[in-house]
């Protein structure tokens, strides 16, 4: 066993180039032992590339990384013995049963014979697949396969578990249950978990998250602190004339707004209290020529906002992300349309 204070993962100036294209542009961070660390970013941010370097599947172009105290380039085998992996794409053998998949993994990793059966039972129970252990994986649903992959990644008691998008394509309920397993696991087995996601709401489960965009880490902290850093509530308004509205907000409130997702958006303390003032100020009877407001929404800062404040854009691939619409108070104003 290793010193508990030593970081489980430590990365400095890690770079990966594919030809001329720099997919990872010199990232540095540390992950403490028994921490749940999340990598958050849109498609193509370089999350998988980073994970692949950390788990020795890709050679870094430059920079260094150690995982569980071993260098990922010089001590590849030692790293591999100490990590568990769940890839972004499925890697189960569908022709085998769940138990056979786990058994195969145990043999490849040299799990001592007398421990294979008890360990298998333990990990299968943990993900709720014990009663399906003799079922052919081909017949499993997407969520069951994912859970089985997590169980497999744990067969050899890794010190660090890497999960690349463990919940992609799963329904919200399954996603939640997978997160419950992950947290439970981290508590029970004291392992470090490094995972990537592009679901903003999931990042809330992590102890700390790094936001990655275009190959760089643009922010790194606990979700609470990151959200606190953004501070204000987020208000977005739909208007007849966005340019005029931005101009008016600057003149009358001293607020810098910008257009995002088709609405004028800005941050302000006490968003709900601000809305009446906004309407009073934009009332044409008081201030003729004000752009008409057709709709308002106020939301507490979410990681979306954190992401936006660091990258200047929302996470583009969040189309099906329910988090985007959660916590959001929609106030449809009748007047807006009538006045036209």
């Amino acid at each position: 066993m290793q010193d508990a204070h030593e970081p489980a993962i430590s990365v400095s100036n890690l770079v990966k180039r594919f030809g001329d294209f720099e997919a990872v542009k010199g990232v540095s961070f540390e992950v403490g032992a028994a921490e749940v660390f999340g990598f958050l970013g849109p498609n193509g941010a370089g999350k998988s590339t980073t994970i692949n370097m950390l788990c020795t599947l890709l050679k870094p172009s430059s920079g260094q990384a150690t995982v569980a105290g071993h260098d990922v380039v010089l001590e590849r085998d030692d790293v591999r013995r100490n990590i568990g992996l769940v890839f972004q794409d499925p890697t189960l053998d569908g022709y085998l049963t769940a138990a056979q998949n786990l058994k195969l993994h145990a043999e490849l990793y040299g799990v001592p014979n007398n421990l294979v059966a008890p360990r298998m039972e333990q990990v299968l129970r943990m993900v709720g697949l014990w009663d399906r252990k003799d079922g052919q994986v081909m017949m499993f649903s997407g969520g069951m396969r994912r859970r089985l992959e997590i169980a497999r990644g744990l067969m050899h008691s890794p010190r660090v578990l890497f999960l690349d998008e463990p919940t992609i394509g799963l329904d919200p309920q399954t996603r939640r249950s997978i997160w419950t397993y992950i947290r439970e696991l981290q508590e029970r087995e004291e392992i470090t978990i490094f995972m990537t996601t592009h679901y903003m709401d999931e990042a809330e489960w992590c102890d700390r998250i790094a936001i990655m965009d275009k190959g760089e880490i643009v922010a790194l902290d606990s979700p609470q602190k990151l959200k606190a850093g953004v501070g204000a509530d987020r208000v977005s308004i739909q208007t007849d004339d966005d340019e005029a509205a931005i101009e008016a907000l600057r003149e009358r409130f001293g607020i810098e707004a910008r257009i995002s997702e088709g609405a004028v958006t800005f941050g302000v303390e006490g968003g709900e209290q601000f809305v009446p003032r906004l309407f009073a100020e934009f009332d044409p009877s008081r201030n003729p020529g004000s752009p008409a407001i057709r709709g308002v929404s106020v939301s507490r800062p979410t990681l979306d906002d954190v992401f936006m404040s660091f990258t200047g854009s929302t996470i583009r691939d969040a189309e099906e992300d329910p988090a985007k619409h959660r916590n959001r108070v929609m106030m449809q104003m009748m007047g807006g349309g009538a006045r036209r």
């Binding site: 599947l57 591999r80 085998l96 421990l115 333990q122 697949l129 069951m144 050899h156």
Partner: protein, 293 residues
């Protein structure tokens, strides 16, 4: 998705595993499990057992039976089916071994290859396990074809069966190694099958599995002598014919053996050629596999 994690009633002891350092033992375990996986998949896949027998049976009974009428003058009283039977024994294992090698292309397509690639074992263990698995599976198929020997007037004798099985294992091993060396470079199933058809079918026809390799046109003789498959087909035929009770003239015409400038190669040497070739191809496959990231 209704299953929920069954929480154990009381917190149970965590079973902790310490993954040992790499050793010969761990490599052997890896080889064994990769080999086992091939067998499990084969047994589960009954369709494959049947389909890979269709072609040999078609050749043996339809082609052999049909051409018998034309060939009876030239076979000196020996049934044509009996004559091509050794070639069919080889053909069976060839196709099965090819399919086994193809599984690495599937494994890549379905992602399973990665699971094996990141394991803390040598790549060579994975290739060796695959190769042995392919050979074993092919030999199983071979046994089925051996079982019908009686139908083509070949006697069941222990020496014949063991010898034929040994040759089949050897050939299957070499073909799987060859298939793996090709499969590692090819990313798509269609292209792999295309390439294999393009290489293996001509090799099979040239090998003399369907005709005696004597008195051929010069170009065909040359091709035949450089065709590695000929060195598997010929010892198989000699083995089968040594257990037949036929006239000397028929033996002379139908089982001439492979000769270089009049020197007749011993069957054991021929088998050794196949073995060396198989091992060489295995080394190539391992080398290629170790290079891929």
């Amino acid at each position: 998705m209704t299953t929920v994690a069954q929480k154990p009633a009381e917190p149970y002891e965590v079973v902790r595993v310490q993954v040992p350092k790499r050793s010969l033992n761990s490599e052997l375990r890896a080889i064994k499990i990769v080999w086992r996986r091939e067998l499990i998949r084969f047994v589960n896949d009954r369709m494959r057992i049947v389909t890979s027998l269709v072609q040999p049976f078609l050749f043996l009974f339809v082609l052999g039976g049909g051409l018998q009428q034309l060939a009876s003058a030239g076979t000196h009283g020996v049934d044509l089916k009996t004559f091509i039977y050794p070639g069919i024994l080889c053909m069976t294992v060839m196709f099965t071994a090819m399919f086994s090698a193809a599984s690495i292309v599937w494994d890549r397509e379905f992602g399973f290859l990665r699971e094996m690639m990141v394991a803390p074992v040598r790549r060579s263990s994975i290739v060796i396990g695959k190769c042995l698995g392919g050979a074993t599976v092919a030999a199983f198929q071979g046994v089925i074809v051996l079982a019908i020997a009686g139908l083509v007037h070949v006697p069941y004798s222990v020496g014949l069966i063991l010898g034929a099985l040994g040759l089949q294992l050897l050939l299957a091993f070499a073909i799987t190694a060859f298939g793996l060396a090709v499969a590692i470079r090819i990313k798509q199933m269609q292209s792999f099958m295309g390439v294999m058809q393009m290489i293996v079918m001509p090799m099979y026809f040239i090998s003399g599995a369907m005709f005696p390799a004597q008195g051929l046109p010069t170009w065909l003789t040359v091709l035949n002598r450089v065709d590695p498959l000929a060195y598997a087909v010929d010892p198989m035929r000699r083995l089968v014919f040594s257990h037949l009770n036929i006239s000397p003239i028929a033996r002379h015409v139908l089982d001439p053996g492979l000769s270089w400038w009049g020197w007749q190669m011993p069957a054991l040497l021929e088998a050794a050629v196949v073995l060396v070739l198989g091992l060489g191809l295995l080394v190539v496959a391992i080398w290629e596999f170790s290079r891929t990231e």
